[in-house]
């Protein structure tokens, strides 16, 4: 949720989505703690971290979701009400770009219409193993009104730039979706039918 533009620190829910092994956790860890591990355990469920960018007057509440398919169904809970989403793919893996495209479609269909979306082509340091060209990803991003960065959590390439870009594009005054309305309403309230217990 964003604060109004009164100068107070704005809080923004941000969700990272993408295929397993694309580097979502590494990207967040690099951004939040400046750390990188060659071996990063798979995320189970989701991890929650915060990061304040004073120069942007934004406090990100970051949900780093699990990339495994079996936790896909939890994702709506995390991107519901999010002000921004980063869809991460691995530039050495074409399948991960396909998964990223699916995420973009899902967000466009079910997510917050004002959500700021970024496409991140991670593992840019592995240029020799590149399987997705920059042009391909850029074209997809342009077609879907995403902004695109090629990043490397390992070398810290464009990590800060990515999140700074998001922070600068956040709508400062727009009303954010209220969490209480964020769920999918499944039914109208039924008529209350108090029923006295006991014999009929």
């Amino acid at each position: 949720m964003l604060a109004s533009d009164t100068g107070a620190l704005q809080q923004a829910k941000l969700v990272l989505l993408g295929d397993m092994g694309a580097g979502k956790s590494s990207l967040v860890l690099r951004f939040v703690k400046g750390q990188f591990f060659d071996y990063q355990e798979s995320t189970i469920g989701a991890a929650f971290l915060t990061k304040t960018m004073p120069e942007q007057n934004v406090k990100f509440e970051i949900w780093d979701t699990a990339g495994q398919e079996r936790y896909h169904s939890l994702a709506p809970m995390y991107y519901r009400g999010a002000a921004a989403a980063v869809i991460v793919f691995d530039i050495t893996n074409t399948e991960s770009l396909g998964k990223a495209k699916n995420w973009v479609k899902e967000l466009q269909r079910q997510g917050n219409p004002n959500m700021v979306m970024a496409l991140a082509g991670n593992k840019a340091d592995l240029a020799d193993a590149r399987a997705v060209t920059t042009e391909e990803a850029q074209t997809f991003a342009d077609d879907n009104n995403l902004f695109f960065w090629e990043t490397s959590a390992k070398t810290n390439q464009n990590v800060l730039e990515l999140f700074t870009d998001i922070a600068q594009k956040l709508p400062r005054t727009s009303a954010q979706p209220q969490p209480s309305n964020a769920g999918i309403t499944l039914s109208e309230p039924p008529q209350q039918r108090p029923q006295k217990s006991g014999c009929c």
């Binding site: 189970i44 469920g45 169904s73 939890l74 519901r80 964020a182 039924p190 108090p194 217990s197």
Partner: protein
């Protein structure tokens, strides 16, 4: 790792025809209820002792013929609620008598209101299938005191109900305040009561390998949803609230107890901190008791979380939390101080009496650990200081910066200052604030100095010396304030003395402070580098006479200045300095009388060390310099007790009589006067001295003894006639007799000796004259036959020599032979 819970295998069901299908624990954890697959309810008392925890059967009751799938203990109404065969049975807690609740059929799940509200309300939610595509959720208030053994009275009242379009049966529910999380095998929904609206939290795909589980967290108003290996906390808005719990395998059951969540996984019971999602403890299953993979387990706990029950088909485990106080002791023994502090804080939040003690114990161990850390830091710093000198070392900036940080933290300034004074690679911007904050002012000044910023360094040292900056306490630095000032001024002087480090303008800016604070260092500085003499002298004349004298001495003596004004100023300033140190004298007595009294010891006169040093310097300067204006100096010294200096000044002016007068009459130093005569004044001076002694003037009686001493020592050099003339008629004859007698005797002896010598010389002269006459009278006759005695050649017309013995030899022909012959002849 700590021991947050202890576990016991408390019961093993023995029946072959049935199995455990439901569990519940009473409000205070004293009673355990087991529901069995054949519809029986068993009530056990939970016993505990030194040997562990065990169950003892208290009652058994057959409720139905189908498995009891859920048991609730409604403490507020003292009722048990059993879900069996789709019916909801409400039994009296004590008698276990009761009936099925009318109007409830096809119930699949039941959930009690928990937490604080449960103490006042026996509320529960019941889920039942209402059609093939919908389920109904009903909320009942279980009534206390109602007769539950008959169907005549109402045992519970329905407060609200809602229909959910959901084809699957509800498997679990959890209250979150007034709202309810409803879970089927594949979907989690949030039902808002009493409005009856509901929203989907999430839905699993139909091929999901594991079903959803839900556990209420009543004290946080949250629910924990178990999805495969993840435990997701959601709030009353259906939003996730934090990092998900991550389990090693999909748990068969989850429980909440206080701050902890327990997850029964295939390898062990894992315990997590609810707030941080951190793993706290693992309690492995005993051999042969581990559940089968994927087996659904049954779990229940009392509202306070003091007794947690986990049941499989036959076995029952009980888990009980270890008191926080004991946990603190455990983690303290394990050296986990951070966790000990966290636990102590939790205890303090609950006003636990042991919390203060735990804090103190933790603090003590922390201090001990800090001491160890400090030692470790010391060793690291030593290592860094060692390796930074190695050739080819990389990241020297990092090494040096870390060393500065460590040494600053360790406090002792010596090594830090030694590091900063040398060539370091630290960035001033990174360590400057640290040094300022830790009041390592001297080290910071050294760093500025080493970095070619003399003014910043000197400003710091000046501020330190003048107490404008607070220096480190002596307990830390090992220096008193005076020592700090000495250090600051020494380093300032050393910096200013280095022409490559500080320009002349910098020197002139800080010289006044240095002259005032440390005159000796200022003198050293002024001697160390060439400066504008006129500017320095102008500055020093206003501030410090000792430093001025030192500097003039340096300029005149060592720099060999030929400026008479500087020579004169040096002697004048040294004279002023000496005069200032002279003691006061009694001017009522004449100078010679004062000198006499001093010599006789009647007046205590001892020259002080400073006075002696000043006079020594003055005398040395008078001897070393030659261009000083003696007349001007004499004007200053006139009438003073600086006798030697006055004599030297008179001597420089050629005023030997005046010098002798000072020595002989003012000081009474007759021997000094005699020595002066010998060195400078000669016989005339001796006569003048004699005159002075015989006629001292100023009403003084003639100094006959001194005059006689003079005549005795130097009388031989003096003309007796003049001496007699000087002596005059008033001189007492007896006094002069010995001297005159000696003079006359000497004169007579000298006359006789001269006469003897004269006659001896005359005799020698006569002898020589006689010999000459004899030789002149000799002749040689040369004939034709006369030949050279050596070569035997005829002499003819050749030049020849005639020897006294009459031998003749040709000179030109055989000069060497002649010489040899001549030598022969000269032999005796």
């Amino acid at each position: 790792m700590r021991t947050a819970f202890q576990a016991w295998l408390a019961h093993e069901h023995q029946g072959d025809s049935n199995r455990i299908s439901a569990v519940a624990v009473s409000e205070r954890g004293s009673t355990l209820y087991l529901g069995l697959s054949d519809g029986q309810l068993e009530e056990y008392k939970i016993n505990s002792g030194p040997d562990g925890v065990w169950l003892s059967l208290e009652a058994r009751k057959t409720v139905g013929k189908q498995p009891i799938i859920s048991i609730l203990h409604i403490a507020a109404a003292r009722r048990l609620v059993l879900l069996c065969d789709g019916l909801l049975y409400i039994l009296d807690q004590d008698s276990l008598e009761g009936q099925a609740l009318p109007g409830v059929k096809g119930a699949t799940a039941v959930a009690p209101l928990e937490g604080l509200a449960a103490a006042a309300h026996g509320r529960m939610a019941v889920a039942m299938r209402s059609s093939r595509r919908s389920v109904r959720i009903m909320v009942f208030e279980v009534l206390a005191g109602a007769d539950v053994s008959t169907t005549l009275g109402a045992a519970a009242l329905c407060e609200a109900q809602a229909e959910l379009a959901e084809p699957l049966a509800v498997k679990g529910m959890a209250w979150m305040g007034s709202d309810l999380v409803v879970c089927t095998a594949l979907r989690a929904m949030l039902l808002q009561l009493p409005a009856g609206t509901y929203t989907q939290i999430f839905a699993l795909p139909s091929d999901s390998p594991s079903a959803l589980l839900v556990q209420a967290i009543p004290d946080a108003n949250q629910a924990l949803l178990l999805v495969d290996q993840a435990g997701v906390f959601v709030n009353a808005l259906g939003q996730p609230t934090g990092t998900a719990l991550t389990f090693p395998t999909a748990p068969g059951a989850i429980m909440a107890a206080g701050e902890h969540v327990l997850a029964a996984c295939s390898d062990a019971m894992h315990i997590y901190n609810r707030a941080t999602a951190a793993h706290v403890q693992s309690l492995p299953w005993l051999e042969g008791t581990q559940p089968n993979p994927g087996q659904r387990l049954l779990a229940a706990s009392d509202p306070s979380g003091s007794c947690i029950c986990l049941a499989g088909l036959r076995k029952v485990w009980l888990y009980m939390p270890v008191a926080l106080e004991e946990q603190v002791q455990q983690v303290l023994q394990a050296g986990n101080l951070e966790q000990a502090l966290a636990l102590a804080s939790a205890g303090a939040a609950n006003d636990a009496p042991w919390a203060e003690t735990a804090f103190a114990e933790t603090a003590f161990l922390l201090l001990h650990e800090l001491s160890s850390i400090r030692r470790a830091k010391h060793h690291i710093a030593e290592y860094l200081l060692q390796v930074r000198g190695f050739q080819g070392i990389e990241a020297l900036e990092g090494v040096d910066t870390l060393a500065v940080h460590l040494l600053t933290e360790l406090g002792g300034p010596t090594k830090l200052e030694a590091l900063l004074a040398g060539r370091t690679s630290v960035k001033l911007a990174s360590v400057g604030p640290l040094l300022e904050h830790s009041r390592q002012w001297h080290g910071l000044a050294l760093l500025h100095s080493a970095r070619g910023e003399p003014r910043r360094a000197l400003d710091i040292w000046q501020d330190l010396a003048e107490r404008r900056k607070e220096s480190l306490p002596a307990s830390t630095s090992g220096r008193t304030f005076e020592e700090t000032v000495a250090l600051a001024t020494w380093h300032s002087a050393a910096l200013l003395a280095d022409a490559g480090a500080a320009s002349e303008s910098v020197v002139m800016q800080y010289l006044p402070w240095l002259v005032d604070s440390a005159p000796q260092h200022a003198s050293t500085l002024l001697k160390a580098r060439p400066l504008n003499v006129a500017e320095v002298l102008a500055l020093l004349r206003e501030r410090s006479l000792p430093v001025l004298c030192e500097y003039l001495d340096h300029v005149v003596v060592h720099l060999a200045s030929r400026d008479p004004a500087l020579h004169t100023e040096l002697i004048m300033q040294l004279s002023h300095a000496a005069l200032q140190l002279m003691p006061s004298v009694d001017h009522s007595l004449p100078a010679w009388e004062r000198a006499r009294l001093r010599r006789s010891g009647s007046v205590d006169y001892r020259e002080g060390t400073q006075q002696s040093a000043a006079r020594t310097r003055l005398l040395a300067a008078m001897q070393a310099c030659d261009l000083w204006d003696a007349r001007k100096v004499l004007q200053l010294l006139r009438g003073s007790e600086l006798w030697q200096e006055r004599v030297m000044t008179h001597q420089k002016l050629g005023e030997h009589d005046a010098a002798l007068r000072v020595l002989a009459l003012d000081v009474g130093d007759i021997r000094g006067a005699e020595a002066y005569c010998e060195q400078h004044a000669g016989p005339l001076g001796g006569l003048a001295l004699l005159r002075m002694l015989l006629a001292p003037g100023q009403g003084r009686a003639p100094l006959y003894a001194e005059a006689c001493h003079l005549l005795a020592s130097r009388g031989a050099e003096l003309d007796p006639q003049e001496v007699l003339g000087v002596m005059g008629p008033d001189m007492p004859l007896p006094v002069a007799v010995p001297t005159l007698e000696r003079m006359l005797r000497e004169r007579t002896h000298r006359t006789r000796q001269t006469s003897v010598l004269k006659n001896l010389h005359r005799a020698c002269h006569l002898s020589a004259a006689a010999e000459r006459a004899e030789l002149k009278s000799k002749r040689v006759t040369v004939t034709e036959e006369r030949a050279c005695h050596l070569c035997h050649a005829r002499l003819g017309t050749q030049v020849f020599a005639a020897y006294p013995n009459g031998t003749l030899a040709v000179l030109q022909v055989n000069a060497p032979a002649v010489m040899a012959w001549n030598m022969l002849l000269s032999l005796p």
